[in-house]
């Protein structure tokens, strides 16, 4: 199990995965937008997407959990 958190404060621009999808460490899960920059949030380990805790265009703070991997 791994909680993947936002590493910057910004807005969720795109969610690149679906619940149940298998991902590898380093895969882009979510793309955040902050200060005119797109920043990918990557999988911290291999696993399956258990839960997505954000919606597109939602503002998020650094440290907020965006995706739960299992």
């Amino acid at each position: 199990m791994a909680d993947v958190a936002a590493h910057i404060t910004g807005t969720v621009w795109k969610i690149e995965v679906k619940v149940g999808q298998k991902v590898s460490s380093g895969d882009t899960l979510v793309i955040l937008e902050s200060m005119k920059m797109e920043m990918p949030v990557e999988a911290t380990e291999d696993g399956t997407v258990k839960e997505i805790r954000c919606k597109e265009s939602q503002p998020v703070n650094e440290g907020d959990v965006l995706v739960v991997l299992g």
Partner: protein
């Protein structure tokens, strides 16, 4: 002169324009988004009008809202600053149609400069050196190989309709070019719905040198010397300076004359008036036109501090129809100046770092100017670009300006967000930077923590 000026921008540049306009007896109107209501630029203007919610498309890019604010406050001119609507010919035309003066070039000149390939053809015909390359899109890999033979390797493949580095790839020899050409063609189709690919000469480590232009509506056009902006990260400038170390102490005088002549020729070819900047690449003794920017540049203060010219003041006088009374021979440089863009970002990874400015104590000192958009207690939001201030430092020589800059940056206290001040200090301590041996790849190899 204008009676009331609406400033269609935010942060430090809105404040700066406000200060200059008030000094000329013009009353001012700030416009702002919900995210910026607490910032100094809103309360310092004589009047302030809310444009809309935080996203730029709803506020600073919202042309109907800006025009409505100008009409409702009775503004007779609009200064767009840089970014946002500053290079939008449609906005300039809409101002004109509403009887409001747009402080900038004529919309027709803006349109001529917008399409890069058209702009290139226009200035090339006026005798301005451009990066050697193909004028039109190439039908197949064989045509690309033939063109590359005459241009010389390495070459850069560029997807038509691309921009900002997307769909671009370099090739060092024919075998690489065949591969890269195919990739670029596929990417152009996928990303931009167009198949076309251009190729041009690739400069692996050029310098970025630009020339400030001022022109009035009576045919008088001058240059205000050059700036060097080679220190960049992700194609965004980080440190700018005047003069370029390439031309300091009268070095390469012949090349600098060629640069200024080319800049004036380019501005004339576009039919330019007001303040603008002609950007060039320098590589191996040659200068090559990249583009002309139809606006005030972020880095204009290094020109102001070294020439004594008030560029925003001249923008306003020129827009009001006055004659530019500065003659070319009056433009002389005194000393050197450096500008540091203070970004709310991680100084190593360049990640954005929005947040509250719990402590914000700018430095003071000999030769130190601060153009800041924020004050202590404000919050830097994730909505706009990360530049919170510009620190501009001048000295009698570049060496003196560097030492003063180190003192000023060390004395700049910011807590609550990360900033790139540590990066600036690393740049200033770097022997290659201090020697003035700059290129646009500098930060990839130097000033590492």
């Amino acid at each position: 002169m204008f009676k009331k000026l609406l400033i269609a921008n935010r942060g430090e540049i809105s404040r700066r324009i406000n200060t200059v306009a008030k000094g000329m007896g013009i009353s001012t109107v700030a416009v702002y988004s919900d995210a910026d209501a607490e910032l100094p630029f809103v309360r310092e203007a004589d009047q302030a009008v809310r444009l809309g919610p935080a996203p730029a498309k709803d506020s600073y890019l919202n042309i109907p809202a800006i025009l409505e604010a100008a009409k409702s406050t009775g503004a007779d001119a609009v200064h767009p600053g840089y970014g946002f609507v500053s290079e939008n010919a449609e906005f300039a035309s809409a101002c004109k149609a509403a009887g409001i003066t747009f402080v900038g070039p004529p919309p027709e000149a803006m349109l001529r400069m917008k399409d890069k390939s058209q702009a290139r053809k226009l200035v090339s015909a006026a005798g301005v050196p451009v990066v050697p390359g193909t004028e039109d899109v190439l039908p197949d890999a064989n045509a690309a190989l033939a063109a590359a033979e005459s241009i010389g390797y390495p070459v850069l493949c560029k997807a038509a309709g691309g921009g900002g580095g997307i769909g671009m790839a370099a090739a060092n020899n024919p075998a690489e070019l065949e591969k890269v050409f195919r990739q670029c063609t596929d990417r152009a189709k996928a990303a931009f719905g167009r198949e076309g690919v251009y190729i041009e000469r690739y400069f692996p480590a050029p310098r970025h040198i630009e020339v400030q232009i001022l022109g009035d509506h009576h045919g008088h056009l001058i240059h205000c010397l050059e700036r060097e902006c080679s220190i960049q990260r992700r194609h965004q400038k980080v440190v700018e300076e005047a003069p370029s170390p390439l031309f300091a102490d009268g070095r390469n005088a012949e090349l600098s004359q060629k640069l200024f002549t080319a800049a004036i020729a380019a501005a004339r070819a576009f039919g330019y008036a007001n303040a603008g900047t002609v950007e060039f690449l320098y590589s191996d003794g040659g200068i090559y036109f990249i583009e002309m920017n139809a606006r005030l540049q972020v880095e204009h203060p290094v020109t102001e501090l070294t020439t004594g010219l008030d560029l925003i003041g001249w923008q306003l006088r020129i827009a009001a129809g006055e004659k530019l009374t500065v003659k070319q021979e009056d433009v002389k440089r005194r000393g050197a100046a450096l500008e540091f863009r203070i970004y709310a970002e991680d100084p190593v990874k360049f990640f954005p770092s929005p947040g509250p400015l719990k402590v914000y104590q700018p430095p003071t000192g000999e030769g130190v100017r601060l153009d800041s958009g924020y004050a202590e207690g404000n919050t830097v939001t994730p909505n706009y670009d990360p530049m919170i201030a510009k620190l501009i430092v001048s000295g009698a020589t570049r060496a003196e300006a560097i030492e003063r800059s180190i003192q000023a940056l060390k004395g700049f206290r910011i807590e609550g967000i990360k900033t790139n001040i540590p990066l600036h200090l690393r740049i200033l301590q770097d022997p290659v930077f201090r020697a003035g041996d700059l290129n646009t790849r500098f930060l990839e190899h130097h000033a590492k923590p």
